[in-house]
């Protein structure tokens, strides 16, 4: 038990420290790397909760694929230093403090209720709930419909992204040239 709580606090510190690093570090690339630290620490917490599958997926998808994409975009855009928000939006910083406090109070309140509330049920730890086998069984029995709808959802998103980003519509080349010319003309008229 002692080892478990030591690990918990270690991962928790790492996660929060990484999160703070993301926000305060002025260099976007290093800021993104801090996010990787947070992701790994969270994956460690999932392992402690016996959710092995979620932990693996978390590392593979978030720390792996999505973070690489992040870094790629940041490096492509060649952002050097974070530029501060100016003008009216500068006030948003103070507004964010208010939101932060509100969220914290809310979380604290629910946490308090959870621990000291009337229905204080002792936590039962399911040792098998997060294994790959259990999740696979759940996905293909009780949750098979949501699982399959998710595939339609992703397909829709893919078609949409392809349509909006593809270079050439099915129109012939002359029609497209005329179309671009028209759009430019419209732009000139607007000015």
């Amino acid at each position: 038990m002692a080892l478990e709580s030591i690990l918990f606090w270690l991962f928790a510190m790492l996660a929060v420290g990484g999160g703070v690093g993301v926000v305060v570090h002025p260099n976007p690339v290093k800021s993104a790397l801090f996010l990787v630290v947070t992701f790994f620490a969270l994956a460690g917490e999932y392992v402690l909760l016996m959710a092995h599958f979620v932990a693996i997926v978390h590392i593979a998808v978030y720390a792996g694929a999505i973070m690489v994409l992040f870094l790629f975009v940041i490096m492509l855009l060649n952002v050097q230093e974070e530029s501060r928000l100016a003008g009216v939006w500068g006030f948003m910083r103070y507004f964010s403090v208010v939101l932060f406090v509100a969220l914290f109070v809310q979380l604290g309140y629910f946490g308090y209720q959870g621990f000291f509330g009337a229905e204080n049920v002792p936590l039962v730890r399911e040792t098998e709930i997060g294994t790959v086998e259990q999740i696979g069984t759940a996905l293909f029995s009780q949750y098979v419909l949501p699982f399959e709808i998710a595939s339609i959802l992703l397909l829709t998103a893919m078609i949409g992204a392809l349509y909006l980003s593809k270079q050439k519509l099915g129109l012939g080349e002359p029609a497209r040239a005329a179309r671009v010319k028209e759009a430019l003309h419209e732009k000139e008229e607007a000015h």
Partner: protein
């Protein structure tokens, strides 16, 4: 050992959704395998798919209704069947409009037809959801398809602006919705709507903050999708920028799907908790009607005017939701059917008048339409009178049932506000009619040709409005 308790009756329960999805996937493959296929052929195959789904929808009436399928994921009752019918008919009419619209503007049916089919599948899922998870997945499938469809005129700045604005604000609203669902799940410990309903009615008097907060966040999320004031900011810009058939689809389909989810969650599941918020919903209904109608008074662009009018109509439907008694569901459903006919009719006429590249969308471009195109002017007049709520159109009966439901629950002031708003709205609807019959066109407006597809849409809407206005009982008895 994995045991799967899913039988053929489970698949029968979602038959229309399966048909629509299968056609969507087939059309995509077809477009790739035969790139030289005539683009309209794809649209007609899509229409055939929707027709088959409609026929299979009647089959739903035959299977055992009023029970949950897929281990408590979807629910089949009369509400499901009626909503499926509304969504499928909307999709069919809008796809027909799009075939004609493609003469005015280049449209890629390879992408458009699957998108509209998947969006319809998402809406139908929201209509039959028995779990918060299904509602969320259906809503996202619908929304993502709509974000893209709003930006389908890729060479038009306004269309792209509409798509971007809708995407950013929609994603933000989804966050609220998901947070609300998480809080409800945290309180009840399940996403099943029947169990949530049981929990809320048992603990109606001592609900904790988390449970109430969850419902409030759901109201915000759904309020965005159906464009209630103050979550309506995106509506005019998105409706204006999107291609007209897509605007019609959003104004009718997305709104009906949003209200379907509201009926499922707020009225049928958390009805007890929503009762605590009924003062808030009352206020939302009044503000939505009033703001929508008053801003619509000063609009000169027909699409913006119809956008604000659709906001106002969301307010009218909220009257029925606030009433929260046994007539709510049938009154709201009846209004959604009427709303579908009259809005699609109005958008169809606006699409023809707008001409190439949607250049003529001002109300003054309707001047002289009564002389040059009497049939078009007639349909537009009927739609405007129905939207304003004159007898003997369906709009009158729809409002009557909504107001009656509110009166039965004792919301007299709400009905008075509704009636006052109806009076205000007459001004801007009649303005279009006056322009058509009593003003001469100063400039020659080159309209699009009235193709058979659009003609069919106009005929269906005209018949629908009058049928629902004169024989409302036959439809209403089908609903509940």
């Amino acid at each position: 050992m994995v045991t799967i308790n899913i039988g053929s009756s489970d698949f029968a329960a979602i038959l229309p959704i399966l048909v629509v999805c299968a056609f969507g996937i087939y059309l995509m493959v077809q477009g790739v395998l035969a790139p030289r296929i005539h683009k309209l052929t794809l649209a007609y195959i899509g229409l055939a798919g929707i027709m088959i789904a409609m026929v299979s929808n009647f089959y739903l009436l035959g299977i055992e209704t009023d029970r949950a399928y897929f281990e408590g994921m979807v629910f089949v009752d009369k509400l499901t069947v009626t909503l499926n019918f509304i969504f499928l008919l909307t999709a069919a009419l809008c796809l027909l409009l799009m075939t004609s619209y493609s003469e005015q503007e280049e449209i890629e049916f390879i992408e458009f037809t699957p998108l509209i089919l998947f969006a319809t599948a998402g809406m139908m899922l929201m209509g039959c959801a028995e779990s918060l998870m299904i509602i969320f997945l259906g809503l996202e499938t619908m929304s993502i398809a709509l974000y893209v469809m709003a930006g389908f005129r890729r060479f038009n700045r306004f269309s792209l602006e509409a798509a971007l604005k809708y995407l950013l604000l929609g994603a933000f609203a989804t966050g609220f919705l998901l947070y609300g669902m998480a809080l409800i799940y945290g309180t009840v410990g399940t996403t099943n709507l029947t169990q949530i309903s049981a929990y809320y009615s048992e603990n109606a008097l001592n609900l904790n903050v988390m449970a109430l907060f969850g419902v409030a966040l759901l109201v915000i999320g759904f309020g965005f999708k159906v464009a209630l004031v103050p979550f309506h900011m995106w509506t005019p810009d998105v409706y204006q920028g999107a291609p007209i058939p897509v605007t019609a689809y959003m104004a009718v389909g997305a709104k009906a799907a949003g209200f379907a989810a509201v009926l499922r969650v707020l009225v049928l599941a958390t009805g007890q908790a929503a009762f605590e918020w009924s003062q808030l919903l009352w206020l939302l209904a009044v503000i939505t009607m009033t703001v929508g109608n008053i801003i619509a008074l000063v609009q000169s662009d027909i699409k913006r005017m119809l956008a604000y009018s659709s906001i106002a109509h969301a307010g009218y439907i909220m009257i029925g939701i606030v009433a929260g008694n046994e007539t709510t569901v049938s009154a709201v459903l009846f209004y959604l059917v009427v709303y579908m006919f009259m809005n699609i009719g109005a958008f169809a006429v606006a699409g023809i008048v707008s001409g190439k590249n949607e250049q003529h969308v001002d109300i003054k471009h309707f001047a002289g339409l009564g002389k040059s195109q009497p049939m078009l002017a007639l349909v537009m007049t009927v739609c405007m009178f129905s939207l304003a709520g004159f007898p003997p159109t369906g709009g009158f009966m729809g409002k009557l049932y909504l107001f009656k439901a509110a009166m039965e629950s004792g919301y007299t002031w709400l009905v008075i506000f509704g009636a006052l708003n109806t009076l205000i709205s007459v001004y801007y609807y009649i303005r279009v009619v006056v322009a058509m019959y009593f003003q001469d066109s100063k400039e020659s407006v080159k309209m699009a040709a009235v193709l058979p597809g659009v003609g069919l849409v106009l005929l269906v809407t005209l018949l629908g409005i009058f049928y629902l206005g004169i024989f409302p009982g036959t439809t209403l008895s089908l609903l509940y």
